[in-house]
């Protein structure tokens, strides 16, 4: 069992990396900091499944909530507007503060 590292309310930062392969962490969110909204459970890693491998052990998946103005420098909507994205644990590090 892969250890579940984060809990709802934790601030997390998305790895700022641009690897090749099948990746489900959108380009626009890499390097951004958000808050864990919920732990979705553990799922086989899609990056591995795409390569016809099992994707096991299942990896913890989180719904992470980002404030829109933290994601887009020119965001013109409300300051409470958010963007929720599901991100696998191996893309996340604990954020400062």
């Amino acid at each position: 069992m892969v250890e579940v590292k984060f809990r709802p309310g934790d601030r997390v930062k998305v790895m700022k990396a641009y690897p090749l392969g099948h990746i489900r962490t959108p380009y626009y969110i890499r390097g951004c900091t958000g808050v864990v909204e919920r732990v979705c459970g553990a799922f086989p890693n899609p990056e591995e499944l795409a390569q016809m491998r099992s994707g096991l052990p299942a990896q913890p998946l989180y719904r992470v909530r980002f404030v829109q103005s933290d994601v887009w420098p020119d965001y013109r909507g409300g300051r409470d507007d958010t963007l929720d994205v599901e991100i696998f644990q191996h893309w996340l590090d604990k954020a400062a503060g």
């Binding site: 641009y18 990746i23 380009y27 969110i29 795409a50 016809m52 994707g55 994601v71």
Partner: protein, 104 residues
């Protein structure tokens, strides 16, 4: 830009969202059905994952990706996946396509 894959388009500038909806053609529905069956959703043997489907769609070059319709990308991807998995060979596919084309 090579570090951003063409399909990974969230946040890029875009035009007005065209609200058109087309009635799916029967061949498109069959492509959709093949995906469902090969994914093992209806109890058949699982020969494809949605991840392989996506990966093979992402492998379609940007120009072709933009020109192809949704189910054209799907049928391409499903076929590639079947070739990669060894369910069909490229020779079998070639011969079958010639045969079908000849039938008209």
């Amino acid at each position: 830009m090579i570090e951003r894959s063409h399909h990974d388009m969230g946040g890029l500038p875009g035009g007005k969202v065209e609200r058109s909806e087309h009635d799916y053609a029967q061949w498109e529905r069959r492509v959709d059905a093949l995906m469902v069956l090969l994914s093992g959703i209806r109890g058949a043997k699982k020969l494809l994952t949605v991840d392989e489907l996506r990966k093979n769609i992402e492998a379609i070059g940007p120009e072709a990706y933009d020109k192809m319709s949704y189910y054209e990308r799907w049928v391409t991807s499903i076929t590639q996946t079947m070739i990669q998995r060894g369910v069909i060979t490229t020779e079998e596919l070639a011969r079958k396509m010639v045969e079908v084309k000849r039938r008209g």
